[in-house]
Amino acid sequence: MRLKHLTLILLSGIMIFSGGCGKNASEGDNPLYNAVSKPSSDVSGKFLLEWWNELFKFVSTERLSPPDAARMFAYVSVGVYEAQICGTKDYLTLEGQVSELSDLPRPEKGKEYDWTVCVSETMYLVQDGMMARYFPAGVGVFNKLHEKQLAESKAAGLADDVIERSQQYGKDLADAIIEWSEGDKYTETRYLQYKAPSREGHPEMWEPTDFNQTALEPFWGTHRPFFVKDANQCDIDKAPAYKGIGDTTGELYKQALKVYNVDKSLTEEQRTMAQYWADDPSETSTPPGHWMEMFGNFVKAEDMKLDRASEIYALMTMAMNDACITVWHTKYRVDLVRPKTVIQENIDPSWEPYVETPPFCGYTSGHSGFSGSAATILTALIGDNKPFIDSAHVNIGLNPRAFKSFQAAADEAAISRMYGGIHFDCDIFDGLEQGRCVGNYYLENLKTHPKRQGDMKTTEAKKED
């Protein structure tokens, strides 16, 4: 009787114990979840902003181009997401989903980690690896920030062995991310020579609009995307024809005339938009950085947790990077002339746009691609018709602007390029379409949060409603 009683107690104990473990495992969808550490869903993601803000400054002072910035932001964001993934029950790793991302190191089972330290270490080292060719320009700032965040963890009472283990994991992960980044063809395209095709017999083709211009990143479209299958996936080709000097009836001429007329009667609101969204690489964090700054306001205002903030940063930056690859592919495939050239050839030989024309083909608009993809991700993950105030450019003396939704901000960013005189309507609207195509593909196919996935509506799904 006593033995039977003891057996029952033991069995009950085993059931309770195994039930507890099982409950933990079945509650969430993440098989990598490390139950002995404080979950990343309980940690504030606000410390990420300190890193991003320094990186934004660095992008501006080092004059990184928008494609370069988009690429760096995306790799750092993937590093951040993976550095905390074992601390969350509900989110899934990108490993095996994102192109060629495999064999990532993982934390030791049953050992405690601090996800803030892991993330901080990964960010520190991935950005270092990505930006190596620009250093030592910004190294001091990043070293100080790294030391500061580590000191804060120690001051919070974190055990030395947990810090050490977390740092080591961050280092191993950063090495893996850097190694993975080296396979995206970026290094190879640094050494390729480009000769812009002649416009002789092809007046629709792009030519530099100023004496100092050389084509920017003509091979960017050949890079490995993160998640879209290839650069052709969201490609588009609805650019109107242009017959050159004397063509004053064609569709592209009409769009050029619109750019010219709008410029000649530019309202203050239109001028402000052109200036606000110029996102000049030498003065700002570029268009992809601007979108991250807008999202950063939500991380701060909502005290967003590390797992959720990391997911949105990762999805948004990867989508912007892929939008950039597809847009750049389209740019150099279609090779369409800029408004300045058409206007100077047929309307006003001395005309200058308000915003300086960038040194690459016009169709489709890069900013539209970045904005379309980012707004699609943010709308699905934060909400539609979510009003917000963007103060990203206060540091360059521009007043904050209010938007009723992310899509409204994207629409404004896109049309601002026409007000600035650097894009036709076709560049803008087709660029938005491309960006949204990339964003929707991410939302429909990349599995980061299976429980929520069904609730999200893509832009396409909303249209159908």
């Binding site: 000649k264 530019l266 309202t267 203050e268 001028r271 003065e283 001395s350 300086e356 003396g397």
Partner: protein, 178 residues
């Protein structure tokens, strides 16, 4: 080895001069001082000189506030009219925005100077009845030789801006709206 070192130092020295040459065009000191100038043969003053003063007001972060006063007399005793001005001196770009008000509608005349390229452009579409030229015509202005002093370069930049506005804008149209 010594020769290579000397050449490297010389190249570094030249780079330093080039960088300073660009950045000194808009020195910080200029942006807390008043600036006075004159446009000869002004369209807005019956072919006589038009005098102007950029009067420093305040600095709020990256926003440097000035007041632009236009004068018809050399003594510059009483402004003919005045406009609010916003200057922004960024890493590679220097902006001067002059706000022109008419019937409750603001419009901004902008001068954008790219420091590394050393040329500026003026953009302004005046209120319809305030145009002297229709459509407006602004010429790109390439700033002078690097051997000139930053003061001369800076003043030529502002002077060119006012001169191009004088050609394109009927200032009188804004009287009473300031």
């Amino acid at each position: 080895m010594k020769k290579i070192l000397n050449i490297s130092l010389f190249v570094a020295f030249l780079s330093l001069i080039a960088v300073n040459g660009n950045s000194q065009v808009v020195m910080k000191d200029f942006l807390s001082a008043n600036h006075v100038g004159e446009v000869s043969k002004s369209f807005n003053n019956n072919g006589n000189s038009l005098f102007y003063k950029f009067e420093y007001v305040s600095t709020e972060g990256a926003r440097i506030n000035y007041k632009l006063h236009l004068y018809k007399d050399k003594a510059m005793s009483k402004p003919w009219m005045s406009f609010d001005v916003l200057m922004r001196n960024l890493n590679w770009t220097y902006y001067v925005d002059i706000t022109m008000k008419k019937d409750g509608a603001d419009k901004v005349a902008a001068m954008i100077f790219k420091k590394d390229l050393r040329w500026s452009r003026v953009k302004y579409s005046p209120h319809p009845d305030c145009m002297r030229m229709n459509p407006p015509f602004y010429e790109r202005y390439t700033i002078g030789a690097e051997s000139e002093s930053p003061e001369v370069l800076f003043y030529s930049l502002l002077n060119n801006f006012i001169m191009q506005l004088d050609k394109n804008v009927d200032f009188n149209c804004y009287a009473g709206n300031m």
